[in-house]
């Protein structure tokens, strides 16, 4: 379902889109191979746990493909990147790699043959992995069931991104951190959390905004960013914009189950992270992540004065005001589908679960729309994206599904046009949130596309030739200067 949308949307945002955590495995119920006899004193099972924490399978497994056999396609503004086969196949996978070579690829993004990976692989984060954990990961990947086949699709990048050595400079500047070392200002639990957040769980790749070079902007560490249309929220300790107003239990419930009552629920890329990675983490690790997030310096989102989750109070809606009036069953009005009345659409497409007053279900399985971060957020992205893509999540306490309503996901039974999605989102934000988002039909595909790629990326091909021209001019000027100065020197002699 999401694959179709991702392909169509074309991943307008480069790096947010290339982060493994945000990309789902699609093949629901993807099971990691059964572990072989764990001879290494638990090394393999620890490696499996770490591979889940790092969500390796999400990107290295194609839809309906064999686990870790690669073939997942990232469609991006600079071309297609295809994840590789990381099973121990000697010919097609990493069967011949030594532990050192494995570690170099994971941490530095460099293959044994010296070629560079693209940061679709989050090696800037994985660089933080300790030697002991790297050993466990290696042991685990050695015994994954080998798949003797290359992915059917090949990476193909547009000029100039396909030039050899293109990533070397980027890596030098942006991928230069080393293995994690304890921060003396933090206690043991907070350090464990920091290690997970910055390393395997690579939270920063989605939750920290990107600069013009599409590297994380560390001045805005975990302050929130747009990921494939969704707003990855601010995770700093700020009381208004971040997690400062959440209790430990709420953060832990969110990470483990994918939802926290009266606060938020995970959708889109975060739902995938919960499904394929976070819900497998131990309670201790979840608590450690929570403890560390408490220490992240607060960053207030500009203009925000009230937490997203604190917005909205259930107001009784008078249903007699939303009655569309009766039409005979054999008249066109009975099959007309062009209604754009947000209140009527909400009450027929949404209210059966979320309630006429946005009160959700009694047991909380269907969330309230009041006191809901998606609805009360400064931007309507997550409301729109939930309607467009639906919600598909498996947490420790069960599965949650909201149907997808956009024509990009299905065209018949639940379909809403962009204009209808806009009017539902306007009604929801007006009735349960901060006031109408005032969206129009044209805004919906733009939100889905996640905004435009950075100027630098969009104009890279032109810039490359401008750069060559500039370089040629500079070289000519230098030659001219040298010649002039020689002449002057010789003249002076």
């Amino acid at each position: 379902m999401r694959l179709t949308r991702l392909k169509r949307a074309g991943f307008a945002a480069l790096v947010p889109a290339i982060v493994p955590v945000i990309v789902s495995v699609f093949a629901l119920g993807l099971a990691l191979p059964v572990l072989a006899q764990d001879a290494g004193g638990g090394l393999v099972s620890r490696g499996e746990y770490l591979a889940r924490a790092g969500d390796c399978a999400a990107c290295h497994t194609a839809r309906d493909g064999k686990p870790m056999a690669g073939g997942y396609v990232f469609s991006m503004p600079m071309g297609k990147i295809v994840s590789s086969n990381i099973t121990p196949s000697k010919r097609f996978g990493i069967g011949n790699w030594t532990e050192e070579q494995f570690a170099r690829a994971v941490r530095k993004g460099v293959r044994p043959d010296g070629s560079h990976l693209y940061p679709a692989m989050p090696y800037p984060s994985y660089a933080r992995i300790t030697d002991a954990d790297m050993k466990a990961l290696y042991a685990y990947f050695r015994q994954v069931k080998p798949v003797d086949a290359a992915p059917s699709v090949k990476t193909s990048l547009k000029f100039p991104f396909n030039l050899p050595g293109m990533m070397m400079g980027w890596d030098l500047i942006f991928a230069n951190s080393g293995p994690f070392k304890d921060d003396p200002k933090l206690d043991a639990q907070q350090n464990r959390g920091k290690y997970l957040v910055q390393g395997l769980a690579h939270c920063s790749t989605c939750h920290t905004p990107r600069n013009a070079f599409m590297a994380t902007d560390n001045g805005k560490y975990l302050a929130g960013a747009n990921v494939d249309g969704w707003e990855a929220p601010n995770l700093t300790s700020d009381k208004v914009s971040g997690l400062g107003g959440w209790s430990d239990a709420e953060i832990e419930s969110y990470l483990k189950n994918g939802h926290a009552k009266g606060k938020a629920q995970a959708g889109g890329p975060m739902a995938d992270a919960i499904t394929h990675s976070l819900h497998y983490l131990s309670d201790q690790d979840i608590a450690a992540i929570t403890a560390y997030l408490r220490t992240v310096p607060p960053i207030r989102t500009e203009g925000q004065s009230k937490p997203s989750w604190a917005v909205g109070k259930a107001q009784p809606v008078d249903w007699t005001k939303i009655e569309p009036g009766m039409v005979a069953a054999d008249k066109p009005g009975y099959r007309a589908t062009d209604n754009t009345d947000g209140a009527q659409l909400y009450n027929t497409a949404c209210a059966a679960c979320h309630g006429i007053n946005g009160q959700g279900s009694d047991d909380g399985h269907y969330p309230t729309l009041t006191n809901n971060s998606a609805v009360g957020a400064p931007k309507p992205n997550n409301v729109v994206m939930a309607i467009v893509d639906g919600i598909h999540r498996k947490g420790a306490d069960g599965m949650a599904v909201m149907p997808a309503f956009s024509a990009s996901n299905q065209v018949i039974h639940d379909t809403l046009s962009d204009a209808q999605i806009a009017s539902v989102a306007n009604y929801v934000t007006a009735t349960f949130g901060n006031g109408s988002a005032k969206l129009t039909a044209a805004d919906i595909p733009q939100i889905e596309a996640g905004g435009a790629a950075p100027w630098l990326i969009r104009n890279a091909a032109t810039l490359f030739w401008v750069g060559v021209a500039v370089a040629v001019i500079v070289i000519l000027l230098i030659i001219a200067a040298v010649v002039m100065s020689r002449r002057r020197k010789s003249a002076a002699v």
């Binding site: 379902m1 009036g325 399985h365 599965m399 949650a400 599904v401 909201m402 018949i412 039974h413 809403l416």
Partner: protein, 530 residues
């Protein structure tokens, strides 16, 4: 691909059966056109119609009744000439009649395929259970079915998982509701063979469908998209490349050289006619409509069996008032607990088998109506509604019919729709085999009421259940059947029929899953030939 054709395959009808055939073919890379007589209407619109219609007991009311493609609820469209008033629910829109159904999705048991050889009644299938088993499994995974692995569904294999299945149900069975558990305990497993109704009303999410939240509205419209309907596969077919044309009423079938079907023509609501050619045609337009279309065009009917052998699961039911304890009907799934004491056995030589089940609808409106008719008012009325609706339990049975050529449908030129196409004439009588089976079912009702410590308030006489089998009957002999075991017309080798209408032995279980399994099987055959 299809250079001289508009498509490799044209499928007529976008209900659960036609859409599954279309999807399988499109998925296997064939060019497919899917034609639907009705419009495409999204769920929110149907829900809007449902809420605006005050007639919530009329399950068809939320759906468009198109002048160019009428349903059984269009006065005059169906006319009965027999002793039984056959008036099945039918919908015409993308997704078909499964937009409103209980969602029961059973397999037949092996003996159902050999009814005549084992019991000397009715007909055998031209294939056996083992031939269909892999397709049952595929259909179950396409439709996302919740069912009880390890249960005996035959009533004759106590303690055993039966019939054999090559894969478990996609979703496990849901825990019994309060009333189902209560009845289960009262009846006791010693004398009653009970199992869970397999259903597409699912209690866990599947394939983008949410888990049921208990609206108890399956019979009208599922407001949240839990309950499977054919539009899910119409949608999948479109995504796999099929071209869906809605509001396209197929009226003409043209046969060319070598008795191959050359084209079908459809009419728009305005009466504009369009001809489409293909290598293979699949008729999946409802068992009445497909038969009508074939008879209008004199296609595939050398056996004179098209439209004949109409079988439904004619059934009876009882209003049971439980003893002092409440049943609380109307909470959770509309159907669940099933009694299979009379599904199979030597008695089938003498009388009809039955499937008996607890129905879990909300009874308040009809109970209130009855009390008002009795003259109750005010506090007395309130007290009666409260007492009765807590204790009321509906139990119903399907009875197994035998195919009789005299039970039939025909085009009725005396009635015309807005395009001038004929209505449908039905002749249907309930035979003695069924009547004898009903006696047995009623005896069981007495015993059930006794064990429940309750009383029978009413026994309902014969009712139809919209399982319209036999009109396109499948067989081993071209002389007495319409299609062969592949669903292929005996007369035209590029014409297939996908419908519950092909089922030659009705058994006692809801037939949709079987028709979908047969459609997938036909699609596999077709995919090898185009």
């Amino acid at each position: 691909m299809a250079q001289d054709f508009d498509a490799d395959v044209i499928v007529v009808g976008s209900g659960a059966v036609g859409s599954n055939a279309a999807y399988e073919l499109a998925r296997q890379g064939k060019s497919v056109i899917l034609l639907e007589a009705g419009p495409s209407v999204p769920r929110w619109k149907i829900l809007m119609n449902f809420r605006n219609s005050g007639r919530h007991y009329d399950h068809n009311d939320p759906y468009p009744n198109n002048p160019w493609a009428p349903t059984s609820y269009q006065p005059g469209y169906l006319q009965n000439t027999g002793s039984f008033e056959m008036m099945p629910g039918m919908l015409k829109l993308v997704g078909g009649t499964t937009w409103h159904w209980g969602g029961a999705t059973w397999r037949y048991i092996p003996n159902d395929f050999k009814l005549n050889s084992l019991y000397g009644k009715g007909r055998d299938w031209p294939i056996g259970y083992d031939d269909l088993e892999p397709y049952y499994t595929r259909a179950e995974y396409q439709l996302g079915i919740s069912g009880g692995d390890g249960e005996d569904q035959s009533g004759t294999h106590k303690g055993q998982a039966y019939p054999r299945r090559s894969k478990p149900y996609p979703i496990n069975a849901e825990k019994f509701t309060y009333n189902a558990q209560k009845m289960h305990d009262a009846l006791g497993t010693q004398d009653y063979a009970m199992c869970t109704e397999p259903t597409v009303r699912i209690h866990k999410p599947w394939d983008g469908r949410p888990a049921c939240e208990g609206n108890n509205n399956c019979d009208q419209v599922c407001p949240i998209g839990t309950l499977y309907n054919g539009s899910i596969h119409a949608d999948k077919a479109v995504r796999a490349g099929a071209r869906l044309i809605t509001e396209a009423v197929v009226t003409r079938i043209e046969v060319g050289d070598g008795k191959k079907v050359r084209s079908v023509s459809y009419m728009t609501p305005e009466g504009k006619e369009t001809k489409l050619t293909a290598k293979v045609f699949v008729l999946a337009a409802h068992s009445f409509e497909t038969a009508k279309l074939m008879m209008m065009n004199e296609v595939g009917n050398s056996s004179d069996m098209v439209g004949r052998n109409l079988m439904d699961h004619i059934g009876i039911g009882m209003d049971l008032m439980a003893g002092e304890d409440a049943m609380w009907s109307g909470r959770g799934p509309v159907q669940q607990l099933t009694i299979m004491n009379w599904r199979d056995g030597d008695f089938r030589k003498e009388h009809s088998a039955n499937k008996t089940a607890l129905a879990n609808g909300n009874p308040q409106i009809s109970l209130a109506e009855a009390a008002i008719n009795e003259g109750l008012m005010g506090k007395e009325l309130d007290a009666r509604i409260m007492r009765d609706s807590a204790r009321y339990q509906f139990v119903y049975s399907f009875l197994e019919m035998l195919p009789s050529p005299a039970n039939r449908i025909q085009p009725n030129p005396a009635w015309k729709d807005s395009l001038g196409n004929p209505g449908i004439k039905i002749h249907f009588d309930v035979d003695d085999y069924v009547k004898a089976g009903a006696v047995v079912a009623r005896e069981m009702y007495q015993d059930m009421a006794k064990r429940m410590g309750g009383t029978i308030a009413k026994i309902h006489g014969f009712e139809n259940h919209d399982h319209l089998m036999g009109t396109l009957i499948m067989g081993a002999d071209a002389k007495d059947s319409v299609v062969n075991h592949e669903g292929r017309s005996w007369d035209h080798d590029n014409l297939f029929v996908a419908s519950v209408g092909v089922i030659p032995a009705a058994g006692v279980v809801n037939p949709t899953l079987t028709a979908v399994a047969l459609a997938i099987r036909s699609a596999d055959v077709i995919a090898k030939e185009v």
